[in-house]
Symmetry: C3
């Protein structure tokens, strides 16, 4: 996936800021990890534990934080946030691949669908009636796009994505393979020993710049839309229940489940395999640790973890205390001993 | 997805029972939530916390429980269970969409497959040899149905479902996109440093009126069938291991995993992201809380939670006690203090 | 799926070792569980709790361990490990089905792809440019294989598998339906309130004899490959993050998540629904219990469980102590009582 295009360090700092130490004409054409980099690569140091690798790297240049600027003699770019800077440089060398426009001969486009010339529809993809694709939308092979779906400009659906009828995706949305958007929510009501299915007549509304991971599911709403706001990033194998609302720029790691009707705030960061039960409110800028089980609403920004979840500090203390129950029992036994001794004396 | 068909309140109570207060000729044509409803909508109140929304609703009519019958002046239907009643009314306005019969020109139907005229096979679907589809079965786009599969009348498979060879589905089964039915169970045996694969020669047997969520997996059995009885409802991203038996009318929420050879009773309700280890027996009418980790058989109806799971009441008490260990330590310190004081006195 | 081919017990022990007691000419043609076996079946006893079923079985023959050799009068094979022996016999009766070679007329094979005559490409499958399939590779219906993918000889991809561009699979790999190999890892960096996507330019490298379950996801690496070594067995709905390294012959049960850049050793056994956070090192031969939440590196072989995970023995003790807090409180109350009594006396 490497491109042959070269940039000189001077050109890179012109784009992204920072300062060059060493030869600003040093050419680089790709990013690489410190231990595997060669002369044509630019690498980076974002964590102290990789300093030893910096010493031995064969990279042509490196990206460093200010405090680390003298750790090497290599040509280098000094900046505030080497990880972020690396991300930008990597994006420069590895721009998203643009699909070739056109509808594959084996794709099926139903009547009334709007597929602009700039869009791409892959082999075996199915585009339902009245679907509207924006400019430059790329629909991967074997995707199934239901009737009336709208997908904003420059969005990309990788192979084998399902979008059910009536769902709406914003611009520059990226959906990875196997994701399912808009299946019925889990709405059932018990009557005389049988579950009655509750029609799920809402849809799914997804904002701009959202990324949705492989095999992730976002259910349609019961009456209104399930909503994923702008800039939300969802990893793989996530379950978003019906009527859930995920606030802008929240990032959720893989295997997490969010049950129906829960509202997640903006700029939250939710660890992998977390579980958030239904009908809760989670405030903005809440951090939820991996595998936390959230059973109550969280009204205050901060970090939370455990099963059931509590604030991270309490969780750490409670865990430590449980693991220290031995010493507590020891103290108890000592007290009982002393007490017996005393009782005999009196 | 709204239909234009109107019903008057009088017609609705004629079908579903209950009593009209206000004008029985009030026409409604769709359901909606209290806060978004307009004149053409009928809404409902199933939980006290939405009473304020009832006061402000612009719905044309509402469905209320007996105790709430005087909370509004709107035309209203009074019934025992407003949520269930709403489910029925919603089903009336939103009947399941019936696929147009016929085999899409891009679908592949192998020889010996039985596809009745009333069935529908979507674009790019694959129907293996000797498959038997019942009347009115709808197979979505890009589904892959293995050799010898049988699917009962009026069942619906949404787009991109896999059913492996030899599995059997009952009548009126609904399977959502991405589900995989009948992949090999995880059967391996170690020999001299290598895992030997154990053939999985059982199938999957699914009863009538079962619903299977998006990207859910049900493995085939090792020797006999994995069994999902009538009326079971499975949410998204659930893993059902080989040889598992799920009793009739049990409902399982998303992200739950049930390991091999476990038997789940009838009418159980299993929360999201629960994990039930293999070779257990779970009684009828057991409720398992979200994210519970069940490591032992459960012989008695009731509610269970925690990691490892115990009965809900014990779990709540143990959690509370752990969180109260501070005060316990405080008491311990106080005792030690008093004891030292005493020891000095004597 | 049964075959009609018969073997006599004498022929079986000639292949797999062990000793026949009873008529060595007894013919059997399939394996079955003790309770369902008939005269043509050979069954097995691998666990004491099924001894009662042995007494009542109608099997034609059984496989028993040495200690159990006299528990029945049926013709029988005596061996060291009846479960493993059964696995071999079952493989004999149920060899993997070989797909008919050839490219289905509805499949799409892009130019430059290498598809040997011995390979099979199913209906609607998509094979990208420069893909290289080894001899006897079977690509199921509706699979999507990205540009430049290499798949080693005798590997099988079931229906609806995605392999992204540039990933490499070894020989005799089995991938179940819905798996997604090589989607972008979850790499994002925050800048001024927006998440910047970090290009994922590594691939996925999968060794020989690996099995990958239904709807499991393995993300591509950020800079280098995500690596799954030889003989690894992955169950369904597993998430393997970017840059993860799974050592040879490790087996991982369903619903488990392994976050980015974690290294798992060889011959580990990881229970279902476990969660291992990112950037950890897990030693060889580590056993992780179902639903364990691993938050720290594990340097030593052994068994671990709990949330957060600790060694199994400690976990069991801590759990027991928490559940015994009642008696601890009782003792505390008794002490306080005795102390008060004493204090009054003095």
């Amino acid at each position: 996936m490497a491109t042959a295009k070269k940039y000189r360090l001077a050109q890179i700092v012109e784009r992204f800021g920072g300062e060059v130490i060493g030869n600003p004409q040093t050419p680089v054409s790709q990013v690489a990890a410190l231990e595997h980099a060669r002369a044509q690569h630019i690498s980076f140091l974002s964590h102290g534990k990789y300093r030893r690798q910096l010493a031995g790297t064969q990279a042509g240049a490196v990206i460093l934080g200010k405090a680390d600027s003298q750790l090497t003699q290599l040509p280098r770019i000094i900046c505030d946030n080497p990880y972020l800077y690396f991300a930008k440089v990597s994006s420069l060398f590895n721009p998203p691949q643009v699909a070739v426009p056109g509808v594959h001969r084996t794709a099926v486009v139903e009547r009334g669908a709007l597929v602009p010339d700039s869009a791409s529809v892959g082999a075996g993809a199915y585009i339902g009636r009245r679907v509207k694709l924006g400019k430059g939308v790329a629909i991967g092979a074997a995707c199934c796009i239901g009737d009336g779906v709208e997908i904003g400009a420059a969005s990309t659906l990788d192979a084998r994505v399902t979008v059910y009828a009536g769902c709406r995706l914003g611009r520059r949305v990226v959906v990875h393979s196997g994701a399912v958007i808009g299946a019925d929510g889990f709405g059932i009501a018990m009557e005389d020993g049988n579950w009655l299915k509750i029609p799920q007549i809402g849809g799914v509304s997804i904002g701009d710049d959202v990324e949705i991971g492989a095999n992730t599911c976002i259910d349609r709403g019961t009456l209104e839309d399930t909503v994923i706001e702008d800039g939300v990033k969802l990893d793989n194998l996530i379950q978003i229940g019906h009527n859930v609302h995920v606030g802008a720029h929240t990032a959720i790691a893989g295997c997490t489940g969010i049950a129906g009707s829960t509202r997640i705030g903006k700029y939250c960061m939710i660890g992998g395999a977390a579980n958030i039960v239904g009908h809760l409110d989670i405030a903005d800028r809440v951090i939820i640790h991996a595998a936390a089980v959230v059973t109550k609403s969280i009204r205050k920004a901060g970090a939370y973890g455990g099963h059931p979840a509590e604030d991270s500090r309490s969780w750490a203390q409670h865990t430590a205390k449980v693991r220290n129950l031995d010493s507590l029992l020891e103290r108890l036994r000592a007290i009982e001993q002393r007490l017996s001794t005393q009782e005999k004396k009196i």
